[in-house]
């Protein structure tokens, strides 16, 4: 069949299967229908719920502004799908074009979209992770459980890891007058994502709001009482924190286990794809029937040297899903590349934090507006003489301007002056990111090159 006729057939009666029924999966389904896809559409999701929104789980829900089991995403349109909820995809047969479900059933497809996202990294010691009172926060179920326990109220909450999620939970606890200790291996909160200069501001925010922030320490063990409830945590500096609720916020792991052995270029860092969201197989050859979107995807980005970019960003899941859906049912020249500029928001301790670009690539940072001490500023990150990212604390209206600078590769240090530029921001300073060889959790952006499947080839030199 010529390509054009094939795509016409595909739009009319092709079978499309989406694995991962969350933000990216739903927005892709809506886009498919909006663009005229009329064939059967199947949504497979291992959670028993229809697609819901996660960001409110660590914000509005814990602040008591919203119920954690009521964050279902609004639909942009009717998607007329067959829903297979509460059942995981367990395998993929690329040659036969079938997805195998955990209940043994097989679902055939002509086009497949994988949007399986990530899951929270659990506490590594299994018996300790099982203790009553130890939580992670990724799903609606997690949020409902944590929320219930926070209403207790607990005597003290211990948060392990001061990335965005951990910091937001700490903020919500303090808002409700709950005593909270935060333990972070790095020197400050948010260091993996924003570096030490901005991290120092985050540390002040924690402390001023009454968080018992411990940095440069690791939690070495959790201890339960006779009934199996957590009662204390041991820290690497020898101290002990008495606590009845522990939230493990150590970042996320990509949901690719189910693809093992399928031949797809899927590994612990996600699923590699081309700029059009088409997945690579493990040999680095692009497939044309399997697409990926959202937190599970790694795609090359021209602004960042075509390195593979994996993002755990809400906006990326939406934008990438729309591109993937469009490309799935479009022929060659009509396809679009996914070239979204990374953007992220968080809100904690009443401060609105937003970033654009990839701060963690930044070598230096300069404060071009406002000041760090006022907690109202814009920081611009430079990489090899150009602007690579910007972060704002309560200064969101300027961010778009900085996004343009990133998109156009504007020179760094920036020369322009603003009315609110202070002497402290005239010169760039080292952005102070931790040594990349030491993993920090939750930077929410990862740049990586190399083979799609992350397989190691063994080179055997010739013998003489």
């Amino acid at each position: 069949m010529p390509a054009e006729a094939f795509h016409e057939w595909l739009r009319r009666e092709g079978r499309i299967v989406i694995v991962g029924a969350s933000l990216a999966g739903l927005r892709a389904a809506e886009t498919l229908r909006a663009e005229g896809f009329a064939g059967p559409l199947t949504m497979i999701g291992d959670e028993p719920y229809e697609p819901y929104d996660r960001p409110p789980l660590s914000k509005a829900a814990l602040l008591g502004m919203a119920s954690p089991d009521h964050t279902e995403l609004p639909r942009r349109r009717d998607i007329d799908a067959t829903w297979r909820l509460g059942v995981a995809a367990a395998g993929l047969d690329m040659a036969a074009r079938r997805v195998r479900l955990a209940d043994g059933e097989e679902v055939p497809y002509d086009r497949l979209l994988i949007a399986t996202g990530v899951h929270a990294r659990p506490w590594p010691k299994e018996d300790e992770a099982q203790l009553d009172g130890v939580f992670v926060l990724r799903t609606r179920d997690d949020a409902v459980r944590l929320h219930r326990r926070m209403k207790g109220p607990p005597r003290r909450v211990l948060i392990i890891g001061a990335g965005f999620t951990g910091s937001e939970i700490a903020s919500a606890c303090r808002n409700q007058g709950i005593a909270v200790t935060v333990a972070e291996r790095a020197g400050a909160p948010l260091v993996g994502a924003l570096g030490g200069v901005i991290g120092a501001v985050a540390a002040e925010l924690h402390r001023e709001n009454g968080v018992d922030l411990r940095t440069g320490v690791m939690v070495t063990g959790l201890e339960g009482d006779v009934t199996g409830r957590v009662r204390a945590a041991h820290l690497s500096d020898g101290s002990v924190v008495e606590t009845d609720v522990v939230v493990v916020s150590l970042g996320a792991t990509r949901n690719t286990d189910w693809l093992e052995g399928s031949g797809l270029g899927a590994g612990p860092r996600g699923i590699a794809c081309d700029a059009g969201c088409r997945a690579f197989d493990f040999r680095g050859i692009v497939t044309d029937d399997i697409y990926v979107a959202g937190d599970v995807a790694r795609s090359p980005h021209p602004l960042f040297g075509y390195q593979f970019l994996s993002l755990e960003h809400w906006g990326n899941a939406v934008a990438q899903a729309e591109v993937a859906a469009h490309n799935m049912i479009s022929a060659g020249a009509d396809r679009r590349p996914h070239m979204w500029v990374p953007a992220f928001w968080s809100s904690q301790f009443g401060v609105n934090i937003k970033s654009v670009g990839v701060p963690s690539m930044g070598e230096e940072v300069m404060i071009t507006q406002g000041s760090l001490t006022e907690r109202r500023f814009v920081g611009v990150y430079g990489y090899q003489g150009r602007v690579i990212a910007a972060v704002s604390f309560d200064n969101t209206r300027w961010l778009e301007f900085y996004q343009r600078l990133i998109e156009t590769g504007a020179p760094f240090p920036v020369e322009f002056t603003t009315v609110d530029r202070r002497p402290e921001g005239r010169k760039p300073v080292p952005a102070d990111f931790p040594d990349p060889s030491l993993p920090t959790h939750g930077p929410t952006v990862t740049l990586s090159g190399y083979s799609p499947a992350d397989r190691q080839l063994v080179f055997t030199p010739a013998r003489h």
Binding site: E50, E72, P74, R76, T82, D394
Partner: protein, 81 residues
């Protein structure tokens, strides 16, 4: 009614918080917190907030719909479990 705010787009203009204070609240100077599933009695206010948001950051479902049940997985499902 269901809603979601694209907080990448949101500029913290607080229009929504003026128009539907029970649904949208400013937390600090710029952070918006909202209830993603407001009750039907808020429908008119939410509709006004959606229309007034200068950057069209709010997506809502069930605004002009007389029947309260949103398009759910349940309704569409042929074999959800």
């Amino acid at each position: 009614m269901r809603l979601v705010v694209d907080l990448n787009k949101c500029q913290g203009y607080a229009q929504c918080a003026f128009l539907a204070p029970g649904v949208f609240t400013m937390h600090g100077e710029e952070s918006l917190v909202y209830n993603p599933r407001p009750g039907t009695e808020q429908r008119e206010r939410v509709a006004r907030a959606v229309a007034a948001c200068p950057v069209q950051a709010i997506t809502a479902e069930g605004l002009d719909d007389a029947d309260e049940e949103p398009v759910g997985a349940g309704r569409e499902a042929s074999d959800a479990r």
